[in-house]
C-alpha cells in the first residue's frame, strides 16, 4: 500500500512540475546567453490565457499550444529588443513584462473564467506502460509530458555538444571574446530569449490545458518565479533543471498529500522550501574555486556593446 501511495505522489509530482519545467528550460537557455528575463511569470500567464482561449474558440488543442508559444515568443522579443538592442536595464524590462502580463491577463481573461475547453488527456504508451511501477509513473502521462522527455536530452546535447551550444555559452560568459571570434552576440541573445519565452508560454498553456484546467485569474501563482529560482538551482543545466522541477514538484505533491491525509506537516514550510533551497544553492555555488564552473554565467544581466570593448 505504501508503494501505491508513493507512486501516487510521484505521479502528481511529475504532472504538477511540467509547467515549471518548461519555463525553466526556456529560461536556462535565455540566461546561458547572458540575458535575465524576470518577466516569465507574466509570459506564462499570457501563455495560459491565450492557449486556453485559442483552444476554446477553435476546439483544437494543438492550435492552442502553438498560439501560447507564439505569444510567449512575442513578449520575449519585446524584452529582447529592449535589453539587447536598446540596452535597457534587464531587471526593469523584465518586471515591466511581468506587469504587462498580469495586467493583460487580468483584463482580457474576465470573460473566460469558468469556461471549459478540450484538454490534454492521459495517453498510455503501449508496452512501456506495463512495466511495474516505473511504467505507471512515466508512461501514463499526457502528450506534453512525453514531449518534455524528448526535449530535455535534446536541449542538453545541443547546449554542450554542438557548436551552437558552445556559441551560446560563450556569449553568456564573455561576449567580447565571442564577438572577436565571429560569433553574432546579438542574434544569439535574441534567439535564446525568444526561445525562452516560447517555452514559458508553453508551460503556461500546460496549466490551462492540462493540469488545472481552465482559466483563473493569476493562475500561475508564482510558478514563473519558481522557474527563475530553479534556473539558478539547477546551475543552468537542463538535466538538473528537469530533476529540480520534479524535486520541487515532489515537495508540492507531498504538501498536497499531507494536507489530504491529515499528516501534521506545516504547509507553509513546504511552500517555502523550494525558495530556501535555491538561496542555499546560490550561496554554495558562489564559492569561487569549487563551483565556479557551474555557477552564474559571467555576463548575465550585463548588456553588451561593441563600443565599450
Amino acid at each position: 500500500m505504501i508503494l501505491g501511495e508513493i507512486t501516487f505522489v510521484i505521479i502528481i509530482a511529475i504532472q504538477s512540475s511540467m509547467s515549471i519545467l518548461y519555463a525553466t528550460l526556456g529560461e536556462i537557455y535565455t540566461e546561458r546567453s547572458g540575458v535575465l528575463n524576470l518577466g516569465i511569470e507574466g509570459i506564462m500567464l499570457m501563455g495560459a490565457l491565450v492557449g486556453f482561449a485559442t483552444t476554446f474558440y477553435t476546439q483544437n488543442l494543438l492550435l492552442g499550444v502553438l498560439a501560447a508559444m507564439i505569444v510567449g515568443g512575442l513578449m520575449a522579443s519585446v524584452h529582447a529588443f529592449l535589453t539587447v538592442t536598446l540596452q535597457v536595464n534587464q531587471v526593469v524590462s523584465g518586471i515591466t513584462i511581468f506587469t504587462l502580463g498580469i495586467g493583460l491577463t487580468d483584463y482580457f481573461g474576465q470573460s473566460l473564467i469558468g469556461e471549459v475547453a478540450p484538454k490534454f488527456s492521459v495517453v498510455g504508451i503501449p508496452l512501456l506502460q506495463d512495466i511495474p511501477v516505473i511504467g505507471q509513473i512515466l508512461f501514463q502521462q499526457n502528450a506534453l509530458v512525453y514531449a518534455a522527455y524528448i526535449l530535455v536530452p535534446l536541449m542538453t546535447i545541443f547546449l554542450f555538444n554542438t557548436k551552437y551550444g558552445l556559441n551560446i555559452r560563450s556569449v553568456g560568459e564573455k561576449p567580447s571574446t565571442a564577438d572577436t571570434l565571429g560569433v553574432n552576440v546579438f542574434r544569439i541573445r535574441y534567439l535564446c530569449t525568444i526561445f525562452g519565452g516560447m517555452l514559458a508560454g508553453l508551460g503556461g498553456s500546460y496549466l490551462s490545458l492540462s493540469y488545472i484546467p481552465g482559466w483563473r485569474e493569476r493562475m500561475t501563482g508564482g510558478q514563473g518565479w519558481i522557474a527563475i529560482a530553479l534556473t539558478i538551482f539547477s546551475m543552468r543545466n537542463p538535466v538538473f533543471g528537469s530533476l529540480g522541477a520534479v524535486f520541487f514538484g515532489l515537495i508540492n505533491a507531498f504538501r498536497v498529500y499531507s494536507q489530504a491525509s491529515q499528516i501534521a506537516v506545516p504547509t507553509f514550510i513546504l511552500k517555502m522550501l523550494p525558495y530556501l533551497c535555491t538561496i542555499f544553492v546560490l550561496v554554495v555555488v558562489s564559492k569561487k574555486d569549487v563551483f565556479k564552473n557551474l555557477g552564474v554565467p559571467s555576463a548575465l544581466g550585463k548588456p553588451y556593446s561593441r563600443e565599450d570593448n
Binding site: 536598446l86 540596452q87 536595464n89 531587471v91 515591466t96 483584463y107 527563475i228 507553509f268 538561496i279 558562489s286
Partner: protein, 356 residues
C-alpha cells in the same frame, strides 16, 4: 533620397524634448488602443479617470491612499539603487514590516503607554523590513551572491510566513472562517484625516521623501553612497567602507518598505489579512526607475500611479471595464519610457539627392 537608421545619436536638448514627446505620445496611443479594444472611447475614458482622481476630495484622497505605500516602496528601491543595489525584495520587506508591527499591535499595544504605541509600531516596521533586506546584503557581502535573486526569492519566503501567521498561528478565533488575525486594538490604528481614508502613513511617506533628500545632499553617508554608486574604484580610493554601507543601505531600504507594510496594516486593514502583499513592491521598482531615483519625483510619480489605479477602479464601477486596465496602463507607460531609448540611441540619416 534614402533614409537609414544608424547607431549613435547626437544628444542635444532638442533630442531630449523629442524623446519626452515621443514617450507621452506612445503611452497615450497604446493606451487608447487598449480602450478601443475594450469598446470604450479613449478620450472619454481618460477624462473620466482624471476627473475621478483629481476632481473631488474623495477621489484625490483615495489616490493618496494608494500612493502612500507606492511612495514608500519607490523610495525604498530608489535609495538602494543609488548605490547600485537592486532591491527586488521590497514586497517581502513590506510584508515583514507589517508582520512585526502587527505583532506589536496585537500583543504589546495594550501593555505600553498609549502614546508610545504608534512609535513602537513604526520601529517594529522598520526593524522587520530592515532585517529582511539585510539578508541579501549580507549574502552579497559575505558570499558575493547577487542581491537581485536573493531579495526576489525572499519575497516568497516572507509571503508564506505571512500566510502561515494569518491562516494559522495568529488567526482570529472569532473570525468565522475568514482568514486573518484579530482586529487590532484601537490604539494601534493609524489616525485618519478629514474623514477620508488618508492616514498617518502619508505623513511618513512625505517625511521620508525629505529625509532621503537630506541624507543624500547633506550627510557624509549620503556622499559615500553617491560615490559608491558611481564608481567602486573611486570609493575604495576614498577609503569608503563599501561593504558596511551595503548592509546599512539595504537595511534602511528595507525599513522604508517595512513602514509601507506597517501603514497598510495599521492604516487600512487594521489586521493582518490577504491583500497586504498586493504588488506595491514591484510597482515601487517601476516608480523608482521612472523617477530616476529622485525622491521628489518618486512622490509625484507615485501619486500619478495612485491616480491610475483609482481611475481604473472607478472605471470598473462606472463602465464595467475590469480595473486591471490600470495595471496594463502602468506597464504601457513603462514600456513607452523604455522604448524612448530608441530616440537617444539611434538617429535617422536622410540622404538627399541619391548620392552614395
Amino acid at each position: 533620397m534614402s533614409i537609414s537608421i544608424e547607431k549613435g545619436a547626437n544628444i542635444t536638448p532638442l533630442t531630449k524634448t523629442f524623446k519626452a514627446f515621443f514617450i507621452v505620445l506612445a503611452a497615450l496611443t497604446l493606451g487608447s488602443i487598449l480602450f478601443i479594444i475594450a469598446g470604450v472611447n479613449p478620450f472619454k475614458a481618460y477624462i473620466t479617470m482624471i476627473g475621478a482622481s483629481f476632481g473631488s476630495l474623495y477621489g484625490f484622497s483615495e489616490v493618496l491612499v494608494r500612493a502612500t505605500p507606492i511612495t514608500l516602496c519607490g523610495l525604498s528601491v530608489a535609495f538602494a539603487a543609488k548605490m547600485l543595489l537592486w532591491n527586488i525584495g521590497a514586497e517581502g520587506q513590506l510584508v515583514m514590516g507589517g508582520i512585526f508591527s502587527a505583532g506589536v499591535a496585537l500583543f504589546l499595544s495594550e501593555h505600553i503607554p498609549s502614546f508610545t504605541v504608534i512609535p513602537v509600531m513604526v520601529i517594529a516596521g522598520c526593524v522587520g523590513g530592515g532585517i529582511w533586506a539585510s539578508i541579501p546584503a549580507v549574502l552579497k557581502y559575505w558570499k558575493r551572491v547577487d542581491e537581485v535573486l536573493t531579495s526576489l526569492l525572499l519575497n516568497y519566503v516572507a509571503i508564506f510566513l505571512f500566510q502561515n501567521l494569518y491562516y494559522v498561528t495568529w488567526r482570529d478565533p472569532a473570525g468565522r472562517g475568514f482568514p486573518g488575525t484579530a482586529k487590532f486594538p484601537g490604539i494601534a490604528f493609524l489616525p485618519r484625516f478629514f474623514g477620508t481614508r488618508v492616514h498617518l502613513g502619508l505623513v511618513f511617506a512625505v517625511f521620508s521623501v525629505f529625509l532621503i533628500y537630506f541624507i543624500f545632499s547633506y550627510t557624509k553617508w549620503g556622499y559615500e553612497i553617491r560615490v559608491s554608486g558611481e564608481s567602486t574604484e573611486a570609493a575604495r580610493y576614498a577609503k569608503i567602507k563599501i561593504n558596511r554601507n551595503m548592509v546599512l543601505v539595504m537595511f534602511f531600504s528595507g525599513a522604508l518598505a517595512g513602514i509601507a507594510g506597517m501603514s497598510e496594516a495599521s492604516g487600512i486593514h487594521f489586521r493582518l489579512m490577504e491583500g497586504l502583499a498586493s504588488g506595491y513592491g514591484y510597482t515601487g521598482i517601476l516608480v523608482a526607475f521612472l523617477s530616476k531615483l529622485n525622491p521628489f519625483l518618486v512622490l509625484t510619480t507615485s501619486i500619478l500611479f495612485g491616480a491610475l489605479i483609482f481611475g481604473g477602479d472607478h472605471l470598473q464601477v462606472v463602465a464595467q471595464i475590469p480595473s486591471a486596465i490600470s495595471t496594463v496602463i502602468q506597464s504601457i507607460i513603462l514600456l513607452s519610457v523604455l522604448f524612448g531609448a530608441l530616440v537617444t540611441r539611434y538617429r535617422i540619416n536622410v540622404n538627399m539627392g541619391g548620392e552614395r
